[in-house]
Subunit: 468 residues, 2 copies
């Protein structure tokens, strides 16, 4: 590939910045030739000729120093957690510092009596729950990526996951933040009690802002006692529409599961192909449910009544190993999809519209000649459809996604909006979804958001070109 | 009282504004001589010579028209729900339009399958739950003022209440808003699913902003299924410190009550004096607990074990009428306090610091020669201490609060901050708490908040002098 050589001036400015960063953060924190994994997240990669500096500070002071130097030199900063995102939020932009928070891994404090933990941004989400377990507590946010993703990245994207209908999205577990502002200042927000209403809630404003307002370096999070019991229930329906009706039946019952996952026939077949399981049976769709807390037998009984009345064939999974395996299959998702073009989506609709969006998905697939399947966090309206297309015989395995996949995705996102839904349930906007932003947000809303951005980052150096 | 007469110019400008408002909103929506109840909230009154126009729009368009006219004439706007606040947030400022939302009372939609309701700002909070009950649902936010206060006012102040440790503060039940911006534009924010991460979360930023960023006129709120069972438990301890230890014992247990109220001996005596009850017994303090949901017997058993191990004498209230009466006594608070000076506070501390703040309260009372008592939403760290002082013999019943009460309150708020707490748990800042704002928020935080305010309201016409 030919690319224009950087001008000597730019190159020397970059060298000067690297030198200044090394002087402040240490030689082992600055990389002018970063390893490949930093060029993208799990779904989006930077253009091949993107030049960036990778900075991996050892502590909060290092983050502040790096941001201050970026501020002084007018250098964009792209914050990065584990790079496990799916919307391009952490993908380098040309000339930027990619500021990785992976070395900020201290769990500073676990306080069962206050029901809080204070953790740095780079702590792996699942590891926080592991550290809490001996105290009898857990950290509720658990995106399917929990063993990869970081607490800070989850907060920056307001990550969702499987347990949000009962325990809330990440936002609802965050009480306070430490964040580095665009000029390198350290801001502390929030409180250590569940209540606190002093001033505008900057904690809540920063959550989900995808690194565009400030760089989250630590958080005071709410922790919860481990449930006294857990129970997995599997309900099988003869169609996706039937499974959607089953989800509605749960809503009409008094039971509120910890997790309610709808998995359609196509997804089941995909899981089976990748994992050697035997879940698929024709057009059958399943609803996989986790109950937890007190009264697990009564909950199971009420749930079973509701699901059977909706036509479901219900199996209570008594064996813990089997239950664990089922959730493992669910979390592992649909495998790598080797051999074909695939596009995973993340939309949300009002819960009552599940049957409608599943219908539309099938219809869109037929119209574009694209295979479709879906799984959904059905308790909270969040759907992850997959659009797939086999490669032509002899097609280069590195060939780009055919436009028809993107056209089908566009139709699908618009269908979600038409049903009163949203263009992103939990993955964020990043670069991948900016094209649809104007369809969901009014001009007034976008203008306001830009003015808020200006209030935090007047030079527009924090994660430029993302989210907004 | 003598006051300077308004200049003819100002008076005529005011008349012109009233005329313009009448033309747009109707004669019955504009009051140049408002009734007394509009001059304050439940704790703060405007100075006697404060002149203001009262506007009570019939609908959202009326709110927009009033705000547009205010914008064009540079007139401050003070939004008002039911006036049930305790921090002065809705108190008129001189020359302002007080914009009352009490006529926006439509419950536009109740959708059990989506688990949402769409309501206008003026709906009384308790009436929303009443309307939901036939559908098997309730609206979780329930400040003690729920029968007086409005959904919009609760959202504007991020109101708390008794059930927040389990169900969250108001913030956690709001999915989307309609709000009128400073120029009269109607902004729609949020979504109808539990998940949704498109753009900066303006919904969350507006919640708790006390009318300083925009005027909330409607909300899409989350509703929840009525619990299958409820149980009230009363634990008696021989001291406030003992009751605080009882609260800690609950935290160490796996039970998470719907409500956990700590009521000290002084408050019990006060309730008895006002309600003819017989709760007080010397220095005894009680913890009044509501359990709800599945497995109520197991919950009760685990709770009883925890409380008894902490030295509590536990009584499970089997009689529903008695339980209802106890909660009624708790909600009625401490009566009117006729006969003495009283100052109610609203602070929050980390839960582990309850014993410490109760100690400090007693110590501060002794030091200032002021009577103290306390009740607390102990599940979420929120404490409502009362500072009281008998009147001197022959003292004018309208005489102002003695400075010693204010000095004691100041010490108390500082003590909460020293313990890692906050100056307001749930009542908001309004005018009453602005003096302490700088103690809790850093200069950087305040500067950022001012810039966010500028982004929404560059003329500073929305609730000026409040909250920030």
């Amino acid at each position: 590939m030919t690319s224009t050589l950087p001008s000597p001036d730019l190159t020397s400015a970059r060298e000067d910045l690297a030198t200044a960063l090394r002087a402040e953060l240490g030689d082992d924190a600055v990389f002018t030739d970063p390893a490949g994994r930093y060029v993208g997240d799990r779904a989006v990669r930077a253009a091949p000729d993107t030049r960036f500096l990778l900075v991996l500070p050892h502590d909060v002071a290092g983050v502040q120093a790096a941001v201050r130097l970026a501020h002084e030199t007018g250098t964009p900063v792209v914050p990065r957690g584990a790079g496990s995102g799916l919307s391009g939020g952490a993908v380098p932009t040309d000339g930027a510092i990619v500021l990785g928070l992976e070395r900020l891994t201290a769990i500073r404090e676990i306080d069962p009596l206050d029901e809080v933990a204070v953790v740095e941004a780079g702590v792996i989400t699942a590891e926080l729950s592991d550290a809490l377990a001996p105290h009898g507590f857990f950290y509720a946010p658990d995106p399917a990526s929990a063993t990869l993703s970081t607490v800070g990245g989850n907060i920056a994207t307001n990550a969702g996951g499987l347990h949000c209908a009962k325990y809330g999205v990440t936002r609802e577990s965050v009480l306070g933040l430490e964040a580095v502002l665009a000029d390198g200042t350290l801001l502390r927000t929030g409180h250590r009690s569940i209540k606190g209403v002093t001033g505008l809630d900057l904690t809540q404003l920063l959550i989900g802002s995808e690194g565009t307002l400030a760089i989250i370096v630590a958080a005071t999070v709410r922790i919860r006692p481990l449930p006294v019991a857990r129970r997995t229930v599997l309900a099988r329906f003869t169609s996706s529409a039937g499974a959607a009706a089953g989800v509605g039946a749960i809503t009409r019952s008094p039971v509120r599961p910890a997790a309610t996952e709808l998995i359609d026939g196509g997804t089941l077949a995909d899981i089976d192909a990748n994992s050697g399981s035997a879940l698929a049976r024709g057009e059958d769709a399943i609803v996989l449910i986790e109950l937890d807390g007190y009264g697990i037998e009564e909950q199971t009984a009420d749930l079973t009544v509701a699901l059977e009345a909706a036509g479901g064939s219900v199996r209570v999974i008594e064996d813990e190993a089997e239950a664990e395996h089922l959730w493992e299959l669910r979390r592992s998702g649909r495998g790598t999809g080797a051999g074909g073009h695939r596009l995973g989506e993340d939309i949300a609709v009002p819960k009552s519209q599940f049957a409608a969006i599943l219908d539309q998905l099938a219809e869109i697939g037929e119209r574009h000649g694209v295979e479709t399947s879906a799984l959904a966090h059905a308790g909270d309206g969040n759907l992850h459809p997959l659009l797939a297309l086999a490669r032509e015989e002899g097609e280069d395995p590195g060939s780009p996604r055919p436009p028809v996949l993107l056209a089908a995705a566009d139709d699908l996102v618009r269908a979600a909006l038409d049903l009163g839904g949203t263009i992103s349930g939990e993955h964020g906007i990043g670069t991948a979804k900016r094209g649809w932003l104007d369809l969901e947000l009014s001009r007034d809303s976008r203008n306001l958001q830009r003015r808020v951005k200006d209030a935090f980052d007047p030079q527009h150096l924090l994660n430029p070109g993302k989210a907004l």
